[in-house]
């Protein structure tokens, strides 16, 4: 177990590229901040799985069904890994994290407070949301100071990369498909563009401890801008429009400039007042509460030798 005499020493260790491990005597403020960040990530992967599952049963054809199942299984697998890493920090147990999530005491990303209304929405999630999530996670991975989180992010990022490429492939199929497919995809993009842009969050505060402690490596606005620069030309080239009437190219720099972002929508979603927040949490609660006898009985069986 390592310990540091002062926050200055600890921050110097972080600035030098040091990796903090669970049994280190890390400053409590760091432990809490990293824990909350990982818990939010875990909750979001779990709720993302719940958002996507509506369309697995309806996925068109066996290959798409298998891919959709594998993708959502990856998300639940990420939640599983993240909850274990978070639990190892000794702040809350896995059951406590689940209870807090289901009671609305903790949050998950804005995008998973929305509903997927069509197969086009399902593709928009893979294409936009997975790309946005991947960009954020890559930025965390690059300079992440918490060892266990950095190590599982390597795997998560590899898998999210597959999801995004799957999203690209399916989006291009819709782009080249029938008029109905094209319309379905455009509607999906219309519904998911802004939530994906908002996912990056408002501009980072000037003295963001997550940046100072090397959890994040880039400011929210930088990641958000990079996403817009990448996505706009790709979507336009595929024949789709961006649902932002004020979007324009800066004549001097050639960079795409978004219209005003509605941060109230982000705040409302995260506070559990998003369009589908209630159903999402209700589904999760029903599943968790309905199977409490299974968990209790398995605990009971584990306590008694066979």
């Amino acid at each position: 177990m390592r310990s540091w005499d002062s926050m200055e020493d600890f921050e110097a260790f972080l600035d030098g590229g040091g990796l903090v491990e669970p049994d280190d005597d890390m400053p409590d403020a760091y432990r809490q901040a990293v824990f909350r960040f990982i818990e939010l990530h875990a909750n979001s992967e779990y709720m993302g799985g719940l958002t996507e599952r509506d369309w697995i049963a309806k996925a068109p054809g066996l290959t798409n069904k298998l891919t959709a199942l594998a993708k959502t299984q990856d998300e639940i697998g990420h939640a599983h890994l993240l909850y274990m890493v978070a639990a190892d920090m000794g702040v809350k147990t896995r059951d406590e994290m689940t209870a807090d999530l289901l009671a609305g005491r903790t949050t998950f990303h804005n995008v998973f407070h929305y509903r997927a209304y069509s197969w086009g929405d399902q593709i928009a999630i893979a294409y936009l949301v997975d790309a946005a999530a991947l960009a954020s996670q890559q930025a965390v991975f690059k300079n992440c100071s918490y060892g266990p989180y950095k190590r599982i992010l390597r795997r998560i990022i590899a898998e999210e990369g597959f999801h995004m490429r799957n999203g690209e492939e399916l989006l291009l199929k819709m782009a080249k498909g029938t008029q109905q497919q094209h319309d379905m995809m455009q509607e999906g993009l219309d519904r998911w563009w802004w939530p994906a842009v908002q996912l990056f969050g408002p501009d980072s505060p000037p003295n963001d401890v997550l940046l100072r402690w090397h959890i994040k490596s880039e400011r929210n606005e930088v990641l958000r801008d990079r996403f817009v620069q990448k996505m706009v030309p790709q979507l336009q080239a595929a024949g789709f429009t961006i649902p932002d009437p004020d979007l324009h190219q800066d004549p001097d720099t050639g960079r795409w400039v978004s219209g005003e972002i509605d941060w109230e929508a982000l705040k409302a979603a995260i506070a559990g007042r998003g369009p589908d927040s209630e159903r999402r949490l209700r589904d999760a609660r029903n599943a968790w509460d309905g199977a409490s006898w299974v968990r209790d009985a398995l605990d009971e069986a584990a306590a008694v030798p066979a």
């Binding site: 779990y46 799985g49 719940l50 599952r53 697995i56 049963a57 309806k58 996925a59 068109p60 054809g61 066996l62 798409n64 069904k65 298998l66 199942l69 594998a70 959502t72 299984q73 639940i76 697998g77 939640a79 599983h80 909850y83 197969w119 399916l170 199929k173 498909g177 029938t178 109905q180 497919q181 379905m184 589904d283 999760a284 029903n286 599943a287 309905g290 199977a291 006898w293 299974v294 968990r295 209790d296 009985a297 398995l298 009971e300 069986a301 584990a302 008694v304 066979a306």
Partner: protein, 267 residues
């Protein structure tokens, strides 16, 4: 997706696949896997705990993979076979069509189905239809992990009062129903299939072997399933004869919802 493709010969004449009933048997097994895989996939993100979500979704993918491999023995357009047929053309056993949105039901069905599968894959592992034997051997290997999952949970839960209260009544209901997994599809003579080396044992023998396995697993809980007497007449009007249970319509409607939006589209 095009019109329903007839099940066409892709093997030379005289091949074991040409034995009367061989293709119908493979189609029935593929349809079982398709429905089971579809129903197990429902559990993603809503299982009793995350590890169980992951396990059931893995098994779902395996079963759908088996469906794909089995349809692939019958023709090239796998989606047309999986999703393009009329309900009466499916040959699945009714137990595979049950939604089982209660986890205890899913566990009991999973145990009954995967023990049955292990018996039937074993009976096909040395099939004279070599590509079927290859599918069976691969599936049999995967079945071991499915069975470890099912029996591991069942054994532990049946040591508790709650487990006994939730699970045993479901065996009363589902074990007799699962016997249909060993009914022959209409027009399929299992004696002929055994004679041609497509299967190593008749379906009645497979069923008896499966009932022993199930009985042995439940004996420690002091329970013996009440097995119905095999009834050829009931079989002739059941799932293997193309008669669908009341659950099939909703299951099928979900499977084809997007596909039916535009039959000319490629997804």
């Amino acid at each position: 997706m095009g019109e329903t493709e007839p099940v066409t010969a892709i093997e030379p004449a005289g091949h074991p696949a040409e034995t009367p009933g061989a293709r119908e048997l493979v189609l029935a097994l593929a349809d079982d896997e398709l429905c089971i895989g579809q129903n197990l996939g429902w559990w993603i993100a809503v299982g009793p705990f995350l590890e169980e979500d992951l396990a059931l979704t893995s098994i779902s993918q395996d079963e759908l993979g088996h469906a794909r491999a089995l349809y692939g023995l019958l023709g090239d357009d796998i989606d047309a076979m999986a999703y393009g047929r009329e309900p009466h053309e499916y040959l699945c056993a009714h137990i595979t069509e049950l939604p089982c949105h209660d986890w205890a039901e899913t566990l009991v069905r999973h145990f009954l189905y995967d023990t049955a599968e292990s018996v039937r894959w074993d009976a096909l592992a040395d099939s004279s239809w070599e590509s079927l034997a290859a599918v069976a051997r691969r599936a049999f290997a995967e079945e071991r992990s499915h069975l470890r999952h099912a029996t591991g949970l069942l054994d532990r839960l049946l040591r508790t009062d709650a487990g006994i209260a939730y699970l045993l009544p479901l065996f009363d209901q589902l074990a007799p129903m699962a016997c249909e997994l060993f009914d022959a599809p209409s027009g399929c003579s299992d004696e002929a299939l055994v004679a041609a080396g497509v299967m190593s044992s008749e379906l009645g023998n497979q069923r008896a072997r499966w009932q022993d396995i199930v009985g042995d697993a439940l004996a420690p809980a002091g329970y013996q399933p009440q097995w119905p007497v095999a009834d050829p007449e009931a079989a002739a009007s059941g799932g293997r004869a193309g008669r669908r249970s009341p659950h099939f319509a909703a299951l099928h409607a979900e499977m084809v919802e997007v596909l039916s939006i535009d039959p000319s589209a490629r997804w």
